[in-house]
Structures are given as C-alpha cells and as structure tokens.
C-alpha cells in the first residue's frame, strides 16, 4: 500500500489549485484523476460549449492567461489545454487513469482504494467536482413512451437527437444554450423554465463578469449572506460565451422561435404539464437583474467612473406569451426528445465516511468537512460566490490548505 500525507481526488481546476498551495506548504500529496487532467471538460460537455467567463478571468495560484484575446471565451479544447498547462507548470503530482473506488476512515487518516492500488493518507481533499451527475426529476418516470430522455452530460450536438421537436427542461445557462442551439438547427424547441437568473452578457460596455469582479460581487463570502442554503441552490446565470459576445435570454430565444413555458410539473395522459407561474418567474428574474444593474450603477457613481463607461440603461422586460402553454401533448407536437437541464450534483457513492446528510449532500463548513482531515473544493458557494469558477478556486485553496496544514500540525503535536 502506498502512503502519502494528502490525497486530492480530481485534477480539475479545484484539485490543481489545491495541489499548488500544498506544494508551496511542502505538504506531500498526490492527485488521483480517473481520466486525464480536466477530465470533465474533456468528456462531459457538449461540443459548442465555451466558458462563461472571459479568458482573463482564470487567475489560478501562480498561473494566468497570457494570450492575445483576454475578452474571448475558451472553447473546451482551449480549456483542457489551459488546465493541462497549469498542471505542467508546477509538475502537479497527478496519477492519471486512476479511479477512486472508495475512501474510508482509518487510524489517523484514510484508506483510498483505487483501480490502480490502494493508498493510505492523513487527509483527503474532495475535488471531484460539483457536476458529476445530471439531475433528472421524478416527473421523468411518467414520460410518455417513444420520447427519449437526454441529459446535458449525454448531449453533444443537435444532430445526435432524433428528428422532431425537443422539450428542454430548465432555464439556467445549460438549458438556454441548448434550446438556442437546437432551435437554430431547425428543430422546434419548447423551453420549460421555473425561476431563472437573467443576465446580460455585457452592461455599459463591459462584460458582466468584469463588473461582478471589480464590484466584489464574486468575492461575496458565506458569512456575508443571510441564507447560505438558498445561495448554494441559485441556478446558474443565463449566459453564453460566444465569439459574438451575444446576450442570451428568454427574449432572444423567443425571437429565434423557441416556445417558452412555465416550469415542467409532470406528465399526464401523454401531455407535459407546465406551471402557470411563468409570468411571475419572469418578473422575479427581471427585478433581480435590475437590482444587479442598479448595484453596478451605484458602484460606478461612487467610483466616479461615468465618463469611462456607457450611460446607464435597462433591458426590455421579459416577453411573456399572452397565454403561456399549460399542456403540451408530446405526440401532437411531434416532440421526440426531452433534455433535462435541471442541474447537476456531485457523486459521493465512493465516499465511505459518514459526512452526507439524509439527502446525500456533503456536510461541510466552507469546505471543511465534518470528519478530521477531510476537505472539499469546487462546490457551489462553498466559501465564496466564485468557489466553482476557475478564477475562484485559488482563494478557497489558499484558505483550506492553511486549515489543512494546521490540522496536520495539531495532529502531530497531539501524537508527540
């Protein structure tokens, strides 16, 4: 059995950032990676996806973008190259093609069983990602026969879908991007959406992510919010990273021909049933977006930046159909595919440590898991709003590597 001090599970941005910090603290460690560096970006994303953050906004510990297109958005191959270059830059100790089979407590640490043999270690960092499993609601079980269920992790491009119409369920970044792409490919798309986060790609001449960065919105910490459970479950912003820097919204989708309906509530007699609350979820999204824009306006005023940026403006309210769809017979509408863009969750099926709650969610305080020497990385709003961003994992890795170091020192002192 091999032995090390700390095992990091997953060589994505979160695991690599943690590795960089542990190396700086001279903590002996390895990263176990089921595939190659940036595996999820390689294998679990659709073809056209680009990052939602601009190239410049990928500041990792000791590494940053140096190319000629700071405002562009990375394709998947570019993202894979970027993270691979990061791993190479500090010789990250990655053990590739090593699948973790189980993590279980052991005297003063953990045993990590893998497809390539077992490890013993003092501490473990779970950096295996927040998006391992696509959520599919129970409603899917009652879906009419002859309609194919597809998750965003299976979806690659419109050509792979059976001829016919498509129902996309979910109005976050994934849902709106897939709806737009599939509609543009000549399929009739219906998008069912509950609460969603409408966000313009740019505002007053600057990328929205730039504004969120400079105003400190992305640095918002878990102690700054009144309800951490709520913020951890906020859907992703309706954004697309495209060369044209376009804004994607329910308005742009409807202009392309997509039918927008309320939240999918279930299926009855071969028909999909949608909530009658579409008008309100659109009103909520418009109000929330305007509060974000208002906060940016106020920041500009405080910083006396008016002369440097475009004048303040507001976007058109979301256009809600006069009579939103409540029922849709999938056969009548020739819908052959339902895509469940209903969120993702992490997979901890291999974690034999009693740190999950009744719903299988990891119990942690800012990434410090309720078991000695066990840490998490890269989860939604784990320590900060930016905890899941390539640009955000560095600060979390900084904080948690220090905590981990203290843990190791404390354990050593106790042993002495």
């Amino acid at each position: 059995m091999r032995c090390t001090t700390t095992i990091i599970i997953g060589a994505g941005q979160a695991g690599l950032a943690m590795s960089r910090h542990l190396a700086a603290l001279s903590v002996e460690h390895v990263i176990l990676e089921r595939g190659q560096v940036a595996n999820s970006w390689r294998k679990e994303r659709w073809d056209s996806l680009r990052l939602l953050t601009p190239n410049w906004q990928s500041r990792l510990p000791g590494f940053a973008y140096t190319g000629s297109d700071p405002d562009g958005y990375r394709t998947m191959p570019e993202t894979i190259d970027f993270l691979s270059d990061y791993a190479t830059s500090f010789n990250a100790p990655v053990e590739c093609e090593t699948e973790v089979l189980s993590v279980s407590p052991h005297v003063d640490g953990y045993i990590v069983k893998t497809s390539e043999g077992d490890w013993r270690c003092r501490s473990v960092v779970l950096a295996s990602g927040a998006c391992n499993i696509a959520n599919v609601p129970h409603a899917a079980e009652a879906m009419p026969k002859g309609v194919t269920s597809v998750t965003p992790m299976q979806y690659r491009n419109p050509a792979m879908l059976e001829e016919g119409g498509v129902l996309v369920v979910g109005g976050s970044a994934t849902g709106v991007q897939l709806a737009s792409e599939i509609q543009r490919a000549g399929r009739q798309v219906t998008l069912a959406t509950g609460e969603h986060i409408r966000t313009p790609r740019s505002y007053r001449g600057k990328d929205i992510k730039w504004w969120m960065d400079v105003t400190g919105a992305l640095d918002l910490g878990i102690d700054d919010v009144d309800d951490v459970t709520r913020v951890r479950h906020v859907p992703s912003m309706q954004l697309i990273g495209s060369p044209a820097h376009e804004t994607i919204s329910l308005n742009s989708l409807q202009a392309e021909g997509v039918t927008v309906a309320g939240r999918l509530m279930g299926f009855a007699n071969a028909a999909a049933q949608f909530s009658g609350s579409l008008a309100n979820v659109c009103a909520l999204a418009d109000l929330k977006m305007n509060r974000l824009l208002q906060a940016i306006d106020e920041w500009i005023a405080i910083k006396h930046m008016e002369v440097d940026v475009e004048a303040s403006y507001r976007l058109m309210p979301t256009r809600v159909p006069e009579t939103p769809l409540l029922n849709l017979d999938l056969a009548d509408a020739n819908i052959k595919t339902v895509i469940w863009a209903t969120g993702y969750r992490p997979d901890y099926s291999w974690l034999d440590v009693p740190v999950l709650d009744g719903r299988g969610r990891l119990q942690h305080q800012g990434g410090v898991v309720d078991a000695p020497g066990l840490y998490a990385m890269g989860l939604p709003f784990m320590r900060r709003r930016k905890s899941t961003l390539i640009d955000g994992v560095g600060d979390d890795a900084h904080d948690l590597s220090a905590h981990l170091m203290n843990f190791l020192d404390g354990a050593a002192a106790k042993a002495a």
């Binding site: 509530m265 909530s275 009658g276 609350s277 009579t323």
Partner: protein
Amino acid sequence: MSELQTAVQNGVNVEALLGARKDLEAMPQAAEFTWKAACEWINGTHSKTEISGFFGLGEDQAREKTFAVETDHPAVFASEDHAPTPVEIVLSGLAGCLTAGIAAVAQNRGIQLNSVKATLEGDMSILGILGADPAIRNGFNAIRVKYNIDAEASDEDIKALVAQSQKRSAVFDIITNPTNVFVTVE
C-alpha cells in the same frame, strides 16, 4: 436596518416565522400539516363548510372557534344566491394568501405598508361546467390579480414584494400547478 425594521409595523411577527423556519428545518416531520374542512349540503346549490381543527407540529391543533364558509350560486344559475360561488371563494383564497404574503415580506424587508388593495378577475366559459363543449375546461382560463399598494418603498421594491409573495404563496401554487385530488365515498 434593525432600527428601521422595529419601526415598521405591518402586524406580522416575522421573528416568530423565521424562528419557526429554523426549528422546522431541524425537525422536518413537524412541518407536515394537514388542513381540514367539513362540508354539509343545505339545499339546492347552497352548502356550508365548517373549518376548525387542523393537524400540524406533530399533533392535532384545536381552535377556539369554528369558522363557516357558505357557498351557493347566483340567480342566473337558477339558484338562490345565499352565498358566493365556490370559484369566488377560490379567488378570495388567492387574494388572502398573496396579501398575507405581501405583508410578511414587507415586514421582513422593513417596508411600511399604508394600504394594500387587490381586485381579482377569473375568466371562465361555463360551457365547460354545463358539459356543452368537451374542449372547454371547467375551471378558469386565466386569473388576473391587480394590486394597488401604498407603501414607504420604491415602485421596484413594491413589485418585488408582490413577486416574492407569489413565489411563497400556497394558493398561488395550488392554482398554477397540478395537484392530485382523491375523492372517495365512505
């Protein structure tokens, strides 16, 4: 902010509600409520429904009073119009729920309400209930709720109150989303 909140008086005990939410998150079983009503036919389309106890917080909850809601139909339905129609009671349920929500959210956000008024309209083709056209549903085609609110807040903040109230409203959810209904004969 806390000074502002104590100054605001909408008659909603937000502290108690927030405290209850915290307690119930720790004891989700206690959050399971069952609301009850007992109806008796009087004559014609006239019925009386009595409402008193309910189940919640793990036990039967008694009330000191029993409330009564009567329903009937107007003369154009060849009825005696002793009371509102059931669908008007549904509208009043929606209005009561949304308005209570507005008061609670306003209190929580430190917004003083001066007056809150709502008018409601529910459109219905009665060909549905008469069984004259199978393509027409029995219930409302659409419901419109118009609020007129005077409060110490901006228009945007008032709109946000109304939006948040819908988001947290039981009756809004009951009306906008499907519910399984099991009717049996004992």
